[in-house]
Symmetry: C2
Subunit: 159 residues, 2 copies
Amino acid sequence: MPIGFEQHDHTTCIQTALTSAETCCADEGLQLTKVRRRVLELLLVEHKALGAYDILSTLNSEGLGSQPPIVYRALDFLVANGFAHKIEKLNAYSACCHPGKAHAPVFMICRACKYVVEAQTEPLRNFLGSTAKAAGFLIERTVIEIEGLCPACQKAEVL
Amino acid sequence: MPIGFEQHDHTTCIQTALTSAETCCADEGLQLTKVRRRVLELLLVEHKALGAYDILSTLNSEGLGSQPPIVYRALDFLVANGFAHKIEKLNAYSACCHPGKAHAPVFMICRACKYVVEAQTEPLRNFLGSTAKAAGFLIERTVIEIEGLCPACQKAEVL
DNA sequence: CATGTAATGTTATACTATAACATATAGGAA
DNA sequence: TTCCTATATGTTATAGTATAACATTACATG
Ligand SMILES: [Zn+2]
Ligand SMILES: [Zn+2]
Ligand SMILES: [Zn+2]
Ligand SMILES: [Zn+2]
């Protein structure tokens, strides 16, 4: 799994995520059905976020469904069980890169190449916890998204 | 301005925000037109986020415009100049509570009463800065939103 | 007044998401 | 096996959010 935008063996990302989903579903009695699994695979193709309708058009071309509820149900399942995340800023969805762990994901989104990196963030979690505690606020979910330029696109920008 | 969900003199919030917007526009040669000012006022009525179409229906009833571009243009102006923020999680907009300062706002959103509090966060800004730096990422914008329960609604929940 | 820029008006459309109800499928109980 | 129930999928329709494109107006400046 990448901790940043560096090169990495992405087949490992894919395998880890799929295996983790399979294991988790088996353990918890959840059904990783054909459509759900296929959507997860599509989200794992690259570290980019996909819109629901992008996914739907692929599903449609593969005969797995043609109407919005098909894809939204699959996405709801994946998000609810921690196999994927919604990127609010993009109205798009991304496979979880750190499955199996409770986490408050931080996404770095490159506006140029569209890559999305999910960072590990225990310290941030603690930090937000204390901010919220000072206000007496009970945290249930967090959305932390950073938009900007990845290292490669910063270099390209200069040219 | 509230630092949390406590009671406060909200007329001060309103006055400060409007004065700040007027001053800033005068200084920068920006036009705080009728529609733009009215939208800002509407966002300041309460510490809640308003959807674009909520705002539009008020504008419409006041004869200030009836089509979506009217409100989206005003919102774009307010957001671009730091007088308001978009709350991505809610697809809604909220007046800035700390105008005039560069800031990476943190929003605490109560899912029960819908109040939205914008916290001050220099330390978080620094923290995200170092997280991004480790990945070589250049930050341009941040979205930090915490969803949960405010103190009052936590008490109500127990009943 | 002439000219250019910024703002607004207007129509149409694109994109994102869910409600509601029908049907099918899988797994467990009788 | 058969029936039952819960879960998942199929289908139609619609709600909610946002922008493109182009016409018109307002206004500052020379
Ligand atoms: Zn990878
Ligand atoms: Zn994750
Ligand atoms: Zn206030
Ligand atoms: Zn602000």
